[in-house]
Symmetry: C2
Subunit: 348 residues, 2 copies
Amino acid sequence: MTITPLCPAPIMQHETVQMAHGAGGRLSQALMQRIFMPHLHNTFLDLLDDQAKLDLPPGRIAFTTDTYVVSPMFFPGGNIGELAINGTVNDLAVGGAKPLYLSAGFVLEEGLPLSELELIVKSMAEAARQAGVMIVTGDTKVVGKGQCDRIFINTSGIGIIREGVNLSCRNLKPGDSIILSGTVGDHGMAIMTSREGLSFQSRITSDCAALNSMIGAILDVAPTSIHAMRDPTRGGVAATLNELASSSSMGIAINEITIPVKPEVRGACELLGIDPLHVANEGKLVVAVAAEEAEKVLRTMHSSEHGRGAVIIGSVVNDHPGMVVMLTAFGSRRIIDLPLGEQLPRIC
Amino acid sequence: MTITPLCPAPIMQHETVQMAHGAGGRLSQALMQRIFMPHLHNTFLDLLDDQAKLDLPPGRIAFTTDTYVVSPMFFPGGNIGELAINGTVNDLAVGGAKPLYLSAGFVLEEGLPLSELELIVKSMAEAARQAGVMIVTGDTKVVGKGQCDRIFINTSGIGIIREGVNLSCRNLKPGDSIILSGTVGDHGMAIMTSREGLSFQSRITSDCAALNSMIGAILDVAPTSIHAMRDPTRGGVAATLNELASSSSMGIAINEITIPVKPEVRGACELLGIDPLHVANEGKLVVAVAAEEAEKVLRTMHSSEHGRGAVIIGSVVNDHPGMVVMLTAFGSRRIIDLPLGEQLPRIC
């Protein structure tokens, strides 16, 4: 029997995402080959199986997921691709895990320019390299024009939890120092000011960064006296501190004048009537550590690129369990509550 | 110092998803407490940490991800929630893994009725229970009206690969029998016929199902002679066979008259001009197994709920490497190619 080989289809003459790119046929293969694989290829992805098969080092694992829907997809200081890598790396790292493997699930809107998709994928590859993680499995769906807003990216991640480390937002102890790694509100305000109709003289850039290296360093110096870590993303430092306080049934007392806010971020927040403590960060860390080890942890953070501005902003107290109370710059006390509603939609 | 406790916010008087449900504040908590936790709660999710901490049994792990964007979200035979569980369970199982833990990442459109969201979440809980997996970590984002189409769900999953099992789409061996677990095209045609403007007399229902139990059973009886498995979803059996053939650089020869198609599915396909081999399935399995073990595997499948209609549809050949050739009902031979484009958008 003689079979004439098929002539290769005129695969990638499109300049934008087509519905057919998500259909599991030839154009799906072409999208993989032209956009995804050149940047993301590795020994796992190259197999193109429906699942990655991984040999993990012994230990407990951490497993996390986040879908990124930030708008605009390119913003000062980053884009949705690197945010999707760094955010999930950070969610693993704050659990005391060394992040190892990530998945990437894309939802693309018909008509998205392939050149923009490629920039995003390239950023993901670069961010993964910098954080020392591999994207080992993925999925791409395409929906019609008007059925999603350009691109959504889910990343899930797996890491190995360091032995002897036991971090949880339930673990605060009375007297713990609360350390914040730097200025608040940079990411959220970068997104806000880059949206149509808003502009400020001084350009605010996102703090989007992977924190696993700094977190590894502080766990090296204080493996058991660090009780909890969180990256204060949606809801900002206010939401993070409230979660820590309520999960641990402890109070948290913070001091407003210690909280670093860049002048341009403060200005933008004032203009918009937003509390910087409620604004999302994507490269900041909140640490609860036994007071006697706080200085050591602080010094270690200061020697890390992403912790130069680290400060102690308060401590864990027996008073007002489940609540966060701030000594204001004016000397009064104010409850720092969770934001009720939505100030900054689609921030991450 | 005296602090007046906050009065609880009037949390869940909404009947639809609000932007604030995704903001990380009080309404996000309320959504968790009212909709997600009652159905999904377990020892991992209850901790509300940013990552689940898991003790895995020893062995290699499988890791997979899929985002589900099916429209409509409720369809004959299932909904997007159970599809999101079963699809990811199946992607783990076809890699020879016992599925254990899943993540769930939601993107919700502002205005989605909470009652519909709850039905979906309930289905996910039920599907997870049936498949014997736990949803251990999650994330919810809300986007504005018109920025996504009601609901998208990403599930990622982790499973432990059975010792001694080595499945890959690269592993086909000449002479392998190709087994198909039942009728083709049910899921895709159920979606198509449930969309606006299309209706057929006989109601076609999706085959959406978790296959891990049946897959476990056939791996018990033929752990080393099963060389590859795939669930033929997007692109249908045609895409799956092509992937197997091209990844293994082997030919696949199939026989049209052996391929089971329900009459109502065949009728709908003819009406729409679609080849049933190109239509998505969500509860079917393609197995490549050494010919001498094929009957044993087939018998085992017949005794499973989801394999009663299993048949041998062809075999792996040395001819035409990378290509799938079908002996048609008329006695001619036809190349079964990947679909080039998009016949059935948003099928899964």
